[in-house]
């Protein structure tokens, strides 16, 4: 069993080992939907919710698979759980806010292939976290993902008015900003330990 305190786990997942900027998980939506602040926050919320649910399910599945002695089914069952949670969220958002549904577009079903979510499920299994610890870990990871997404969206909104060389417009520029942000986040190292 792990001896880290819950606060440490949260800080670690959110800032020190930020999923986007230190582990490179969830880069696709990070580059894809970070153009506008509003979509970025909502995307962050959706991802966080899916993370939380799938992390809870992953804990149960792991315990069950160990008890029947079939750990090789781990990956397949995790992905099935994540896919169905995403489906649920998709239907929910479509009902509540069709506008948001359209602005998230293709990136909503693509949450299924968001590595950050599968990453949370796999890392918590590797680290042997208990149920409560898993929930905190998922919350921290989700908060970290949202934070990174919002930060970069804010920067990109400003950059739209900047006069940059034509070649560097688009993905290349976003990657440069992400690199600088990642350097900033290195300043958090040692905070959680």
């Amino acid at each position: 069993m792990n001896t880290e305190s819950l606060g440490t786990i949260f800080l670690n997942a959110c800032l020190v080992n930020n999923f986007v900027l230190a582990y490179f998980l969830g880069i696709c939506p990070f580059l894809g939907v970070s153009g506008k602040m509003e979509t970025a926050t909502k995307m962050g919320g959706a991802v966080m919710f899916v993370m939380l649910i799938s992390s809870m399910c992953a804990y149960g599945i792991h315990a069950f698979l160990i008890s029947i002695g079939a750990p090789f089914l781990q990956l397949i069952s995790y992905i099935v759980v994540i896919a169905s949670t995403v489906q649920l969220v998709e239907m929910f958002i479509k009902k509540i806010s069709p506008v948001l549904f359209r602005s998230l577009g293709i990136f909503l079903p693509l949450i299924t292939t968001n590595c950050a979510i599968l990453g949370v499920a796999l890392f918590q299994t590797n680290k042997d976290y208990g149920f409560l610890e898993s929930i905190i870990y998922a919350l921290g990871a989700g908060a970290g993902f949202t934070l990174a997404l919002v930060l970069i969206a804010g920067l990109r909104e400003q950059l739209d008015f900047a006069d940059v060389p034509k070649v560097s417009k688009g993905t290349a520029l976003t990657l440069f900003i992400a690199g600088i942000l990642s350097l900033c986040f290195m300043g958090f190292a040692g905070l959680g330990a």
Binding site: L21, A22, Y23, F24, L25, G26, I27, C28, L31, F72, L75, I76, I79, V80, A83, P109, L110, T112, T113, N114, C115, I117, L118, G119, L122, F123, N126, K166, V167, S168, T171, A172, L173, L175, F176, A178, G179, I180, S182, L183, M186
Partner: protein, 210 residues
């Protein structure tokens, strides 16, 4: 004569499928797909190459199977079944790498399992293998897989040379070389990829201008 013509046409299209993945539609540099493993495990050339080949293998096998099953899978559940197919082959790869080299398995870590959620593989299944014959899908997968490996290697080599002063663990510079630690750190991954994208964008714009 007409038969000959048809077969040569077939040949042209398959090589074309192969070539397009290497350069024109390179999954990393042009389509910007599958970024997570590209950035995460490209800190050394060896890791990058291993990751690229593992992904190429999964891509090839899933493309074959998806293409074989394309007439049997109902449209509504296709994405779910593609993911199941991919997950199966990733599990196989995961255990195979563990058997071949425990060290490599350790340094790649969870990123082998994360091949499942590599958007490149799912997008090839959806956009190509589900609509084309097995033969074409094989070439498409080979081209895309090698293109992906090539891009990963480009990143891994640059990062290892600058960040560690070596390539494939062979030292390149005399002792006085001060390595750029930042290149091995996460930030270096973003910077290296950004610079590669700049270079490729530059080449492409120059081409279209002239």
């Amino acid at each position: 004569m007409s038969n000959d013509n048809a077969s040569s046409k077939q040949k042209v299209t398959t090589t074309d499928e192969f070539i397009k993945g290497l350069w024109r539609d390179n999954p990393v540099f042009v389509q910007v797909l599958g970024m997570c493993p590209v950035l995460a495990v490209s800190n050394t050339a060896e890791n990058a190459l291993a990751m690229g080949l593992a992904t190429a293998f999964v891509l090839l096998m899933s493309n074959i199977l998806v293409s074989l099953l394309r007439n049997f899978v109902p449209k509504q559940v296709r994405i779910a079944s593609y993911i199941l197919i991919i997950a199966t082959f990733v599990t196989v790869t995961d255990y195979a790498i563990q058997a071949i080299s425990v060290e490599l398995h350790k340094s790649l870590g969870a990123f082998i399992s994360l091949i499942v959620v590599n958007c490149l593989i799912l997008s090839r299944a959806e956009a190509f293998a589900s609509k084309n014959t097995v033969w074409k899908s094989i070439f498409d997968a080979l081209g895309m897989g090698l293109g992906f490996t090539f891009a990963l290697f480009c990143l891994g080599a640059v990062r290892e040379i600058l960040g560690n002063g070596s390539i494939f663990n062979i030292a390149l510079f005399p002792d006085g070389f001060q390595s750029w630690i930042v290149m091995i750190l996460p930030a270096g991954g973003f910077f290296t990829l950004a610079i590669w994208l700049l270079i490729i964008n530059g080449i492409e714009t120059r081409k279209t201008k002239s």
